[in-house]
Amino acid sequence: MLTARVLGFGLCAPGLRDFPGFVTWLRDASQPLPAGRSAQPSAARLAPTERRRAPHAVRLAVDVASQATTNGHDAAGAVFCSAFGDMANTDVILTTLARAPLEISPIRFTHSVHNAAAGHWSIVAASHAPTTALACGREGVGAALLAALLEVDRGHEPQLLVCSDTADAGALGDAARCDSDFAVALLLGAEHGNPGAPLLRGAVRVGPGRATPPRDARLRPWWGGNPAARLLPLVEDCLQPGRQGFTLPLGSGTLLAIDCETPN
């Protein structure tokens, strides 16, 4: 059994700039899901030069990471996860390579690494803590959550988990459909010492993995259309006092079963 307390949240999605905004929207059942494909992340914590250079996908991930660590916590490490990475940048690079390969932009190539957001975050946070960048497929957030729980288990806490994907771009969207931007971050601390925070208990089980859909049906389009939004049921459970559970697929024959206990 792996355990962690959720000490901080970050979220950015079309029409919802931050986690408090998401909570307000979620609690008002009369509000429809905001329309649009693009989120508007804040780049406030990026240095001015980086603000100009950092691509949208990086700004989105760094924004939610920053939101989740605003309560005075310094993360002892970070797991970044994106199924498709910066598809807009990849699309431009592939288009250039097909047309005039010698014209590939060095800045675009530098930002093409999957850990570009992790690298930017470490600079923004002035943190030498280890970070990783995972891509575990359309159902990859379970593997990312497991990796973050393992780090908490090793005493590397609080551990930041950032899951983000951006709306698909260009022909790549034919094989990697992603309907809109979505990013979510969790700051995970040790079970002991943070009694007021939601408690996650995770276990790897044998069985065909099935992702639990969100309870609030309004969230289904994001949950179904963006791999990072597969974490929405966890966020819902953390906001709902009581004890709930859900599952996330891991490999072809295993799943991560999460039990979430949120104090009143």
Binding site: T95, N115, P130, T132, A133, L134, G137, R154, L172
Partner: protein, 408 residues
């Protein structure tokens, strides 16, 4: 069980760190050849696998040298055919590795075997092909399999080919990716999530990296010369390297992963920290994890890309922190295999320990003064019981593996 498990002229230290896990089987395919014997013999002879660039996928080849795996074109893999899958399929077929993995799956149960794959570009070569013949702005129908276009595709293919049913991860932290894969693999074992972990590093030649590094003016027109004062950049290579991690009780005589130290530079996305502070933190984290002093190590396989910046910083770091440890970079022999480099160089280091021969720094004639006293320019026969391997990547991602020999 492959005979490469066992080390000559070595003993297991009396105090093994708690974090250690066994490396029960391993293999590699690179420009040096296919399989452990080919790598051992080439490294012992000081041979380079670099050849003039004849990779033509994106028009006229750039004027540079590459570490190309010979014969891949005639070696299609099952199911989805990509250059990267060809590398992986070949690795599974050599050194009894596929048989060792099948036995591991039978012993542990498929759901108790995890997969951690490190790569920087996965199957992007297929995305490049698709973009050269878009159909009215869309991917051609024969190149729409999602596994061709996202980073986890090779892991999904490998899982299907091998029957691994446990948790599957793809780490993509540029050139540190597959070194970090060893670290995550060890955590999965220690936490009881898996009883065995297949760790893989794989990257194939592709236009993205050849032209991308060329745009950054980081590619040497001649074969790369790591740590040479006249060095002028790197040579890109391709490779697949695989290892099976087990609990020590399940493979008590095998070589061992003692630690994986990791850190971030927090400095710049593509330039290393000028004082090497991130690399130093990764080294210190590894030493702390395995509770061994620097002098306990007999050899360090350096990142040594032959870029101007990396090598001068790494040379100063080694001279300062590991002054009595033999050191070399093998990228002059294999090319820089990017996301595969961590796993490939772990296998090269294990082979060096097993064969009692530390590799030389192929291509280096006049070494950086700071490291000249300890840099091996040619191979040296010597007993190697403990060794380190450095991997640093864009994004300021650093990893340092600490490895130990098994017993005869």
């Amino acid at each position: 069980m492959a005979r490469w498990l066992y080390c000559r002229a070595a003993t297991i230290p009396s105090t093994m760190p708690e974090a250690a896990v066994a490396i029960a089987s391993y293999t590699a395919v690179s420009a040096l050849g296919s399989g452990n014997a080919a790598h051992r013999d080439a490294l012992r002879a000081g041979r380079s696998g670099l050849v003039p660039n004849d990779y033509r996928a994106a028009g006229a080849p750039l004027p540079c040298w590459i570490g190309r795996v010979a014969g891949l074109e005639d070696d299609p893999p099952p199911d989805v055919d990509t250059r990267l899958h060809r590398l992986l399929a070949r690795a599974l077929r050599q050194d009894q590795f596929g048989e060792d993995l099948a036995r591991t799956l039978a012993d542990c149960g498929a759901a108790r075997v995890a997969l951690v794959l490190g790569t920087s570009t996965a199957n992007i070569e297929q995305s490049e092909q698709a973009y050269r013949r878009l159909d009215d702005g869309h991917l051609p129908m024969d190149l729409r399999d999602p596994r061709l276009h996202h980073l986890h595709g090779p892991a999904e293919w490998l899982g299907a080919q091998t029957g691994i049913a446990g948790p599957a991860f793809t780490i993509s932290t540029a050139c540190s990716a597959s070194a970090k894969a060893f670290g995550l693999g060890a955590h999965l074992l220690r936490a009881g999530i898996a009883d065995a972990v297949l760790v893989v590093g794989a990257d194939s030649l592709c236009a993205s990296t050849l032209h991308g590094f060329n745009a950054l003016e980081l590619v040497d027109a001649s074969p790369c010369r790591p740590f040479d004062v006249q060095r002028a950049g790197l040579s890109i290579g391709e490779a697949a390297a695989m290892a099976i991690l087990r609990h020590i009780d399940d493979a008590p005589l095998a070589a061992r992963l003692l630690a994986c130290g990791e850190s971030s530079d927090a400095y710049h996305l593509s330039a290393p920290h000028p004082q090497g502070t991130g690399a130093e933190r990764a080294l210190r984290a590894a030493l702390r994890e395995c509770d061994l002093p620097p002098d306990a190590f007999d050899y360090v396989n350096l990142h040594g890309t032959a870029s101007r910046q990396n090598d001068v910083i790494e040379a100063a770091l080694i001279a300062r922190l590991l002054p009595r440890v033999l050191a070399s970079s093998t990228k002059g022999a294999t090319g820089h295999t990017l996301g595969a480099a961590g796993a490939l160089e772990a296998v090269i280091t294990l082979l060096a320990m097993h064969s009692g021969c530390a590799p030389g720094t192929t291509g280096c004639i006049a070494p950086e003064p700071a490291i000249a006293a300890q840099l091996l320019r040619s191979p040296r026969s010597t007993t190697l019981r403990h060794a380190l391997s450095f991997s640093f990547g864009f994004g300021g991602s650093n990893a340092c593996l600490a490895l130990a020999c098994g017993v005869p």
